[in-house]
Amino acid sequence: MIKVKIHINGTEYEVEPGKNLLHTCLALGFDIPYFCFHPALGSVGACRQCAVKKFSGTDDKTGKIVMSCMEPVSMGLIISTDDPEIKVFRAAVIESLMQNHPHDCPVCDEGGECHLQDMTVMTGHNYRRFAFRKRTHNNQDLGPYIHHEMNRCIQCYRCVRFYKEYAGGTDLNVFGSSDRVYFGRQKEGALESEFSGNLIEVCPTGVFTDKTLREHYTRKWDLTSSPSVCTQCSVGCNILVGERYGLVRRILSRYNGAVNGYFLCDRGRFGYEFINHPERTRKVMARVRDKEFLEEIPDEDRRSVILSAVKGKKLAGIGSPVASLESNFALEKLVGKENFYHGIPDKTFTLIKTAVQILKEGPAHSPSLKEIEKSDALLILGEDPMESAPMLALSIRQASRNRSFEIAAGSGVPIWNDAVVRELAQKIKSPVFIAASDKTRLDDLAEEIYNVSADEIAGLGFEIASLIDEAAPKPKDSGKSPGGTAKKIAETLKNADNPVIITGLHYNNVKILYAAANISRALVRMGKKASLSIIFPECNSLGLGLMDGKPLEELIEPAGMRDVETLIILENDLYKRFDKERIDNLLNNCENVIVLDYLMNDTVKKAGILLPAGTFAESTGTIVSNEGRAQRYYRVLPANGQIMDSWRYISGIIDLTGKKNSSKWKYFDNLVASMTDAYPSLGRIREILPDSGFRIFNGKIARQTPRFSGRTAINSDVSVSEPGPPEDEDSPLNFSMEGFKGVPPSSLVPWYWSSGWNSVQAMNKYMDEPAGTPAGGNPGVLLFDNKNGRMAEYYKTE
């Protein structure tokens, strides 16, 4: 990349041309105020806050005020970011925005992480001369997740740009005109988009705030916060979980440039209240002498109760696709490989194993969400991404714009000049083809929609593969697809530079996987760079698929059941996956049933012993996303009474039964080492993820901000003397304010803050450039080789 020289405030810099000036200045570390610009949404030049002075040459002493977000960086650009006239202008913009802004700071949810507050301080505006009445608005009830407070609006238009243009939503819009513009729904009601929660982070003031946070409100600076990974689907978006007084308060997006970028889906953002639910399992409980209900066990009896259920008994363990790798592995170690059952219907597990095999063999690349966004032709074969992997669907939506970027580039218009790109390209999109059994919420993007049965979808896939490479096998009913659909798709994929096939386990049909694999293999054989993304049903389905496990059907059959005396079930409500009768049979026939889980579900109600397992907020663990990216979540709640990581409980049981392996697992990292020894395919986890010994300048990384309050008072109702902060031996994070005060590696970021940047915009300081790569690279480590070139066989069509 040829760089160009520009001058900022008299100093020369070498920078990449073609970006906009605001982006470049932010990347260089300059603090330029802005509102309507957003790294994911591009520039529109509406708010006028990002003004800088541009000089036509070295003799030009007056210069011209320009908006840096709309100014392309070019050779010889001379600008000033601190010219006195600029400072006056920037403060004037804030003064105008403050004209109608309510004096809400002390009672506004956004206070303490408010971009408007930050920009007000940055520009130095402090005295409001406007002496007239402010305009006010009525608020709308936008549903259970988003609170609406229109008086605070500064009309940056980010909300509608994100909601309508980026996320494809149709029910949030701007109404009216002049200084009475209103951002909301046409009629009040719950917002319909699956990504509405991002309004909370996209809105620079407190217009759209987290309603779930309001139920148990806490200021940002008072939160203990941890880096974590969402467990609601297999995409593995990175999140930040905040807690105070033992309650999880809210979830924010954590930037991962390869996966979720700046955003989250609503399921991940708002689906955390189960952690605080009154029906959480919080104590070790047992069913004493055939009683109907579980009861708490006195502390001193706990060991003996568990021991009596486990020592000398024939054990069997049932794992889970939502539990961490470490928990599943620990269970396998406890019961022995021959007695470890993966816990999902065998048909599904076979599909998972097939998917794993396809990913391992390649040769198509398993793309990250960011890579999917760069695709210029997509085929969705037998999946409904909006249902099974919403953020992946959002990436598909961005990918459909790639053709418009090409058209814009042809007229010399850069991608970041958002409104111009959209106008130039009109309705032209990159091709997206959808083969599904029913309508999907991506249909508005599709060039062709093919609604047929699962088997026919597979047939279409095989046909496409055979049209790309005639060596690929044809399906039995070849040529049956209507109107040459298969031919069109095949041609488009073949002519694309970066084709992506998206498939998954949604329809529980293995032939669809075979067909998708064949298409990707055919493309690679024809010399194309092809990517294949497989959507798994649950957050660690792929992780579980990388381990060994027997089908539960073997255990459920009368023959299998006979031997088992103690059944240990890990975070798996079997009634959700199998027939009631068969599970009743299984659970009734085992002498002891030990269940590790976090909610009172039907399986738990049948347990003889209940061990309260920690959710992702209360444990440390590693899961593998559908891309093959292993990521770790870190607890935000310290050890909480009897709630512990499942692997910690199981490790304790191993100790109790005196197995020789137990001494090796004093720390979480020991367990990980054991696991990667046993499963070399997981080996990379150990090499790259920072382990608990990681320090920066001898400091751990603080989960609490420097302004965290109440440290001594929090515990005073229990004891007046301040206790030491809880230890975290599983990770390099601290449960206190102590630690390294700079930018930590991206996988360990617990909260975003920088001097003068209290809002989520502080993210800019944690990466090399806006929407760039965070310090330390994007979190997560890829477990598959993903090197194109190795040829693999075609799957048969029958």
Binding site: D171, L172, N173, F175, G176, Q186, K187, K427
Partner: protein
């Protein structure tokens, strides 16, 4: 549902553009001509005809001054308050009408006969003050001519 008449007129306008959505403003005006104003129902009717979301149609409708999202009277008086009309005495015109009909700007007479609205400017500056009632222009207004003009409208 759009009436057949409304649909027919909108379909004629669609011929002028490459995309159906481009006819949104014309559609709003056509439906308003038929129904007097644009109700929520009208917004939905247009939205379903043009395959747009109601929010999108309403976003466009609420931007334009001449799309009425509240009921209006049978006749709409638009009094010009542009600069030339102001110099030439629009205030007394307004006061005369307002006094006679007992409504202020933005209000409708109880019998639904007139809605009084401001407008600026009607392009009649050399014959100020001026006003419009429905599609008719009136200029060189005086205290006396106003009574005559209003009398024409039922």
């Amino acid at each position: 549902m759009l009436t057949d008449e409304e649909r027919k007129e909108i379909r004629e306008e669609i011929k002028l553009y490459p995309y159906v959505e481009a006819v949104c403003i014309d559609a709003l005006k056509i439906v308003q001509d038929h129904r007097g104003w644009i109700s929520d129902e009208a917004v939905n009717d247009i939205a379903s005809e043009l395959e747009m979301s109601p929010a999108e149609v309403d976003s466009i409708a609420t931007f334009y001054t001449r799309i009425y999202r509240k009921p209006v009277g049978r006749n709409i008086i638009l009094v010009c308050e542009g600069i030339s009309c102001m110099i030439m005495g629009y205030e007394s015109v307004y006061e005369k009408i307002s006094g006679k009909l007992n409504v202020k700007f933005g209000e409708t007479t109880p019998d639904g006969r007139f809605t009084l609205l401001p407008v600026s400017c009607l392009g009649d500056c050399d014959h100020a003050p001026a006003l419009m009632i429905n599609n008719d222009h009136y200029n060189d207004l005086t205290h006396d001519t106003i009574d005559e003009i209003l009398a024409k409208y039922r």
